[in-house]
């Protein structure tokens, strides 16, 4: 026991030398001396923190980082997604993606249009709703619940319902337009390549507008009433208050929503695959529907992985840009 205790104390001295904080080391030594069975516990106490973070590190390591690594490695192969054969083909998958006029560019363009349209309109409408509902109108809680409800619905159900509503021949939208003698406005909402992408944007906005509203509403609650009172006394109208007080004070919330919107739009898949499936032609092909088709339907795991890597790169770039812009604005 004694011998081993000495051994520990020597080891401890080395550790102290490395750590350099003398007073802290002295305190540690005091604690140690006062406890029996210290020698046995010394390696354990060093190991303990690692054991506690081990589950997370192992799980995220395997399920996230290993998968990312595997995807990157796969993207340089011709793997079909199921076999054991995997041949290295260099950058051929990326070359195919980046060829001018390829499906990838069409999908990227659609993703960007979708991102800009949905992020801007969702934030705008969400803010407008939050501001209106904050005015404590009669029944505002009911409206809040109604606007928030789509978020609680499964996207697959929303898409299925919109597919029926947007049907060009028997759908509710066109039937209503015809009833109002506005036949010229009746469209093939999901079957016209010029409109289909915007129809999908509309569905997405329906689904997520309530989310922006609630986040903005929470942000509004944190703005002090004093500022509004001061503005009122200074004779500030609704629009002036909105643009000079509310919006600047909500810039943090807006940034969060933009970031979430960007990430969300890159992840968009379910609504598209359930409504247009990427068509007509490739007018609503998204990066993720393309990835799915390449990987699952065409058995092209390598190409699918390369699309995944491109999506990851785009997400990282957009996030960095967003953070830089945000920091500059806050300076």
């Amino acid at each position: 026991m004694t011998a081993s205790a000495d051994g520990v104390s020597v080891g401890k001295k080395t550790a102290i030398g490395r750590g350099g904080a003398a007073s802290e080391a002295a305190q540690r030594r005091r604690t140690r001396v006062s406890k029996p069975g210290e020698s046995m516990n010394s390696w354990q106490s060093k190991l303990r923190p690692y054991l506690f973070i081990a589950p997370l590190v192992i799980l995220s390591g395997i399920f996230i980082y290993y998968c990312i690594g595997f995807t990157v490695a796969t993207s340089f192969t011709d793997w079909d997604g199921i076999s054991d054969e995997m041949d290295f083909i260099g950058l051929r998958n990326y070359a195919k993606l980046l060829t001018p006029g390829s499906v990838f560019w069409t999908a990227l363009k659609n993703n960007i249009i979708f991102m800009v349209v949905t992020v801007v309109i969702q934030a705008g409408l969400g803010l407008l709703l939050a501001v209106i509902l904050k005015e404590r109108l009669r029944g505002s809680n009911v409206f809040k619940a109604i606007f928030f409800m789509p978020i609680a619905m499964a996207p697959v159900i929303i898409a299925a319902i919109f597919r029926i509503i947007m049907d060009p021949n028997v759908g509710a939208i066109n039937e209503a337009l015809r009833f109002l003698h506005l036949d010229f406005l009746a469209q093939s909402w999901l079957g016209d390549p010029k409109i289909a992408l915007y129809s999908i944007c509309a569905i997405n906005i329906f689904e997520w507008m309530g989310f922006s509203m609630i986040i903005y509403y929470a942000g509004l609650m944190s703005i002090s009433e004093d500022i509004y009172e001061a503005a009122k006394i200074d004779g500030c109208g609704f629009w002036n208050t909105l643009f000079r007080i509310t919006i600047p004070n909500l810039s943090g919330t807006t940034n969060t929503l933009i970031l979430l919107g960007i990430v969300g739009s890159l992840k968009t898949f379910d609504i598209v695959i359930q409504t247009t499936g990427g068509g007509p032609g490739r007018s609503t092909e998204f990066l993720n529907t393309y990835l799915y088709k390449a990987g699952v339907q065409q058995f092209n795991g390598g190409l699918s992985a390369a699309i995944g890597v491109m999506v990851l790169i785009i997400a990282v770039i957009l996030s960095i840009v967003q953070v830089i812009v945000n920091n500059r604005a806050n300076r």
Binding site: P55, I82, K293
Partner: protein, 442 residues
């Protein structure tokens, strides 16, 4: 001691996380076959598939259990082919596939071929005389490019057919058309009376591929298969004529507004045809089941109507008739230790009572050359004629329904949509298809 407890807790947490991952391991096959079991100690097979439907399986399995009380089947099904493939793909890659799984002629035969035991060897061993009963054309379609028979074909189906509502046609004084011109005329008459044109689900790439293969054979029989193998070009005359014909069909007003945004199922079928908004629904031979009283039309507007099925009239130069394909085949996992039992099930489904039960549901035409659909005696005249037409058409067809490359299939679908919407010309569409065709490694 307190420290000790903390350490134990940490080790416990670690162990749990490792335990979570333990399920990811893969099992390996090999070893001896478990044989056929007994009624008291049955063998249980796992079987994954996307068809038959739940209701059809109930009947089939009841018959199977009666015949083989020594074999139980643990059945898993999803109706969506894509979902089925996703599950099979992941499990097979992880070495945890089922004993028996369904495949369709085309890309799945190629992709899952390596996980399947050679069906010819198995059948020779456990199903003597099978090759004189099962249609050769069907066997060809479940044999992969390496010459390995991957699966036993079970039922076949093909394109392109039209499901029509005889009652609705009669009400409007229109006869069932037999030629393309008659179809165009009938369509015009019905539209003028407020009905919708043919309800085409042109959102589905698979449906457009069916039409493309079927149509192109009318301009050059077999050319499409040569082109898909790289031995001809999709910019050739046959395909120019095919795409021009497709454009003509659109220009003739044959299909409803926004057809490229409409799925065949459920939209075109349920919202248009079963809702009695159109008298015609282009589809495949499998849908002949709707001509008999069935669960699908029950409760819809056409429940009491007389429905029939006709071949889509010839549009092109030659009447080459419908295509056919193995819609379903059964493969045995090469790692399975229950191959003998699996083959009993496959025999039952191919040349046994299971085949009879299944073809009676009209889900597909038989692969057993001696098997006939048992049509109920109270079936309508249209129904009897339709079933006869489809069974004969499928048995005599030599044209394969599907091309093997899914990437090529997808591109054909996309370009046919582009022609529909005016976003591509016949020339640009075919050029794009040929470009994809040339990029495929063979």
């Amino acid at each position: 001691m307190f420290n000790m407890k903390k350490t134990v807790a940490a080790v416990g947490a670690l162990a749990m996380s490792v335990g979570l991952l333990a399920g990811c391991g893969s099992s390996s096959g090999g070893g001896s076959d478990e044989g056929l079991g007994t009624a008291d100690n049955p063998v249980t097979l796992t079987f994954w598939t996307w068809q038959p439907t739940d209701a059809q399986w109930k009947t089939i399995y009841a018959a199977f259990e009666k015949k083989y009380p020594n074999i139980k089947i643990d059945w898993w099904r999803t109706s969506e082919m894509a979902d089925y493939q996703k599950k099979l793909q992941t499990s097979m890659a992880g070495g945890e596939g089922p004993d028996v799984f369904g495949v369709q002629a085309g890309s799945t035969v190629e992709q899952y071929g390596r996980f399947a035991e050679d069906m010819k060897d198995l059948a020779d061993k456990y199903m003597p005389g099978w090759d004189s009963k099962v249609a050769e054309g069907a066997v060809e379609q479940t044999t992969n490019s390496d010459g390995k028979m991957v699966a036993m074909p079970t039922i076949t189906s093909g394109s392109e057919y039209i499901l029509y509502n005889k009652t609705l046609l009669d009400e409007n004084g229109v006869k069932v058309p037999t030629t393309y011109d008659e179809l165009v005329e009938a369509n015009k008459t019905l539209v003028s009376k407020g009905l919708m044109p043919l309800a085409l689900g042109a959102k589905d790439g698979w449906h457009l591929d069916d039409i493309f293969v079927w149509l192109s054979n009318q301009y050059g029989e077999g050319d499409v298969y040569k082109a898909a193998e790289g031995k001809a070009k999709f910019t050739d005359e046959t395909f120019v004529k095919t795409m021009k014909a497709w454009k003509q069909m659109i220009d003739d007003g044959l299909f409803q507004d926004g057809a490229v945004g409409t799925a065949t199922y459920p939209d075109a079928r349920d919202n248009y045809f079963y809702a009695r908004k159109t008298a015609f629904f282009p589809t495949g031979s499998w849908h002949v089941s709707a001509v008999l009283p069935n669960d699908e039309t029950k409760g819809t507007a056409v429940e009491k109507d007389e429905l029939g099925m006709m071949e889509f009239p010839t549009v092109g130069d030659n009447a080459t008739g419908p295509t056919t394909g193995v819609d379903f085949g059964l493969a045995v996992n090469k790692d399975s230790k229950k191959q003998e039992a699996a083959m009993k099930f496959i025999e039952f489904m191919t040349t046994g009572e299971g085949q009879q039960e299944w073809i009676n549901t009209l889900q597909g035409a038989p692969v057993d050359k001696d098997m006939k659909v048992e049509v109920p005696s109270d079936a309508t005249e249209s129904a009897k004629a339709s079933i006869d037409l489809v069974t004969k058409g499928q048995a005599s067809s030599k044209l394969q329904r599907k091309l093997t490359s899914q990437e090529l299939n997808d591109e054909i679908g996309v370009q046919m949509q582009n022609i529909y919407t005016g976003d591509a010309t016949v020339e640009s569409a075919l050029k794009a298809i040929e470009q994809v065709n040339e990029s495929i490694e063979r």
